[in-house]
């Protein structure tokens, strides 16, 4: 028996003798993390990543018992929550980590925006980040239906109905999402497929590209920071990341223990739409925007205008690195800051208003 160090060295030399690991080792160890007053925001990427990892692990465990059919989905989720040992924990962690991941990704994105981390040469890091955020929302939308309860059923019905308002491809998109004219068994199978197959494949490549770019280019330094101080990512920042992840894990576990995920009533497609139907909280601002839109604007369907407007807003978000030209020149323009502030204020305001409105009615 050799010492641990000896074993590590032997393992390293085993691989070194067979593969040229010099470049890989350099890629992993060369990264540094700037040290300044805004360093706190650097942790959000890592927490989002670890929450996604928790999602994958807990999702894999849920697959052991979940059955994606109208006749069995709700029953299997109830089985997981009531009979399977620690099934309640796995599902609750899955549900809470999903919400936390979206929140963490949103804050990560907002901090990247306000610190102008998207400026050259990191435009594509921003683009992949935006796409990853949309992907997480896609995971949320498709996962919401899987327990097949009343709330998720009708929310999906409304959600896929909204999709049919998309210009030109609306009807095709709605039928594609639903797997037919209405939300039913085919929709559940399809959403399950999106949730555990199609979206994860996209996630794998997008996340890989995003992380590779961060690894290759390192962390962005805010415009206002003149100091060149930095710390090595491994081990200095990684240990800090580990501490942050542990805190995050503790929060997810506490939420799961105190507020376990609910199962709800099994969906009845023939029942009238109950009052108080609402999507997941991160879609609420869009939901409320749609409700506020008038029926007709300049002779066009109000819903159509709203969908196009939100689609364009998403596109503008992706194109921010090219739209904020002063940032590319190393200047912070007040207009970009105001646009970002108003957007975040609008999203939070609409979400709060929608929650208040639903609670009141």
């Amino acid at each position: 028996m050799g010492s641990p160090m000896g074993a590590r060295e032997r393992l390293k030399s085993f691989f070194q003798a067979r593969y040229n690991l010099g470049g890989l080792g350099e890629l992993v160890t060369h990264k540094t993390v700037p040290v300044h007053g805004h360093s706190l925001w650097y942790y959000l990427g890592g927490t989002t990543l670890v929450l996604v990892a928790v999602q994958i692990l807990s999702g894999l465990l849920l697959l052991l018992y979940y059955r994606p059919s109208v006749g069995e989905a709700h029953e299997s989720v109830r089985l997981i929550m009531t009979k399977v040992e620690f099934g309640w924990l796995v599902r609750s962690v899955h549900a809470w980590a999903a919400n936390m991941a979206i929140l963490s990704a949103f804050i990560h994105m907002a901090s990247a925006f306000f610190l102008k981390a998207y400026r050259p040469p990191r435009e594509l890091t921003w683009v992949t980040g935006c796409l990853l955020f949309f992907l997480l929302m896609g995971f949320g939308f498709t996962g919401y239906l899987l327990p097949w309860n009343t709330l998720s059923f009708f929310a999906t019905k409304v959600g896929t109905e909204i999709a049919s308002s998309v210009p030109v491809i609306g009807k095709v998109l709605s039928t594609f999402l639903r797997g037919g004219a209405d939300v039913g068994d085919a929709t559940l199978s399809r959403f399950f497929w999106f949730h555990i197959a199609a979206l994860p494949v996209c996630l794998f490549f997008l996340l890989g590209a995003h992380l590779m770019m961060v690894q290759l280019q390192g962390m962005s330094r805010p415009l206002s920071v003149r100091s060149e101080r930095a710390m090595p990512f491994i081990p200095n920042f990684l240990l800090r990341d580990l501490a942050a992840w542990s805190v995050m894990l503790g929060i997810v576990l506490a939420l799961s223990a105190y507020y376990p995920a609910t199962v709800g009533e099994k969906a009845d497609p023939f029942a009238p739409t109950p009052a108080g139907i609402e999507p997941e909280w991160y879609f609420l601002w869009m939901f409320q925007t749609l409700k506020f839109f008038p029926g007709h604007i300049l002779g066009l369907e109000g819903e159509l205008v709203a969908i196009v407007a939100m689609g364009l807003a998403g596109l503008v978000l992706i194109l921010v690195p090219w739209l904020d030209r002063p940032a590319a020149r190393g200047q912070a323009h007040w207009l970009a800051w105001l646009a970002g502030f108003l957007t975040v204020f609008y999203m939070i305001g609409m979400t709060v208003y929608a929650k208040w409105f639903i609670a009141r009615h």
């Binding site: 540094t32 040290v35 930095a230 542990s246 199962v263």
Partner: protein
């Protein structure tokens, strides 16, 4: 087919043409008949009243030689209607589902017997169904539609002068309207709730009679009636000529039952007959105690499940068990009519078992919540130690040289 024939035949119906031009009472039938079920089936005035609707001259159209019978005397109306309604072969042409024994039943009813005896006050077909504007009993506008029946009967049975002549009370409709049955039918609109005809019959309307009361109630309350029939009370009621269910529950003014009716308390019905210290008195006390015990256990189980719900636990299985316990409580209340403490305790015992099972499930769920929280705090403590160790390691590294210029 019939509407087409009717439309084709309409110009030849001189009855309607003339009566529509008349004023007053004689104009009425022509207007009312438009909505009449007979009209809708293609029948015309002449099908009941005879005559020749094709003749333009009134003396010819209403000639006795043409079979004109005119307006039948009130006493003759049942027989007048029965010409068709007691003829199965004829009725089959229009509505094979409609019974043809109404007239036979009517002859056996209080109304029919009095009518045959020449009493002109009593109800005949038109008293309830109307005349010329007769609608199907399934039509909500019909006076014999389920929710309209009490009001239809009340037309006569709340007429003080009329009822006085026959020595009948006039409070039945008032009592019924305020009873549990009346509230269900007239207020909640539950067409399954009993109305006058449900107990008295419609065409065969009569008083149920003391012995038949139980059978009338048993149409809906079959278990209670069966238990009563096998109980010692049955013989006593028969011997004394008491009207079974009515003795405790009343008739038209039947109120929603309460557990206070059972036992030996001030509102108890049992104590009205059973003296303190008697076997019946003790049985009443024991039955009430069994009901109260089950209620208390169910309440305990509900609170237990509610508590688990409060912690976010899924309690569907326990709720189903609790539902079973509640069903047994309902059964126990029905089994009271056996007046056997053994039978009551047997059913209540099943309820107690279900209630206890539900309560334990609630308690177990709450225990599970505390177990989860303990597990959480142990995990958080371990994570805390891990984080502290990391902080210590980070500080020691920072002391050696935390950062460097890039």
């Amino acid at each position: 087919m019939w509407p087409a024939v009717s439309a084709w035949a309409a110009p030849l119906n001189t009855c309607a043409e003339c009566h529509e031009m008349l004023e007053g009472q004689t104009r009425g039938p022509a207007a009312l008949f438009q909505v009449d079920v007979h009209s809708k089936r293609g029948l015309t005035c002449a099908d009941c009243h005879g005559g020749d609707p094709a003749a333009q001259d009134p003396t010819l159209s209403m000639a006795l030689e043409k079979g004109f019978v005119g307006r039948p005397a009130r006493q003759d109306i049942p027989g007048f209607c029965a010409r068709c309604h007691a003829d199965p072969a004829f009725m089959r042409r229009f509505n094979p589902n409609l019974p043809t024994d109404q007239y036979a039943k009517y002859l056996t009813s209080q109304h029919g017997k009095a009518n045959a005896a020449g009493d002109e006050d009593v109800a005949v077909c038109t008293s309830c169904h109307g005349v010329h504007g007769i609608r199907s009993a399934k039509d909500p506008l019909s006076p014999v539609y389920a929710t309209n029946i009490p009001g239809t009967c009340a037309v006569c049975h709340t007429d003080a002068d009329l009822m006085k002549r026959h020595g009948l009370p006039v409070n039945q409709h008032w009592d019924y309207a305020h009873s549990v049955h009346g509230q269900a039918l007239l207020v909640a609109g539950d067409r399954g709730a009993p109305h006058c005809a449900s107990c008295h019959g419609s065409h065969e309307a009569s008083k149920p009679g003391a012995i038949a009361v139980g059978n009338v109630c048993a149409q809906c309350h079959s278990l209670s009636r069966d238990l009563f029939a096998a109980s010692p009370h049955k013989m006593v009621h028969e011997a004394l000529g008491l009207p079974e269910c009515e003795v405790c529950h009343g008739n038209h003014a039947i109120q929603k039952t309460s557990d206070e009716m059972l036992g030996t308390g001030p509102e108890s019905f049992c104590a009205r007959c059973h003296e303190p210290g008697s076997k019946g008195f003790e049985t009443a006390q024991a039955m009430r105690a069994a009901v109260e015990d089950l209620k208390a256990r169910i309440q305990g189980a509900e609170e237990s499940i509610q508590r688990a719900h409060h912690f976010g636990m899924d309690m569907e299985d326990a709720e189903y068990t609790l539902h079973e316990a509640s069903s047994r409580l309902t059964q126990t209340r029905a089994y009271v009519h056996s007046f056997s403490i053994e039978k009551v305790k047997s059913v209540a015992g099943e309820g107690l078992a279900h209630a206890d099972e539900a309560r334990k499930a609630g308690e177990k769920a709450v225990e599970e919540v505390y177990f989860r929280r303990k597990g959480l705090w142990v995990t958080v403590a371990l994570l805390g130690i891990f984080v502290l160790a990391l902080i210590a390691k980070i500080r020691s590294m920072d002391k050696k040289g935390p950062t460097h210029s890039g």
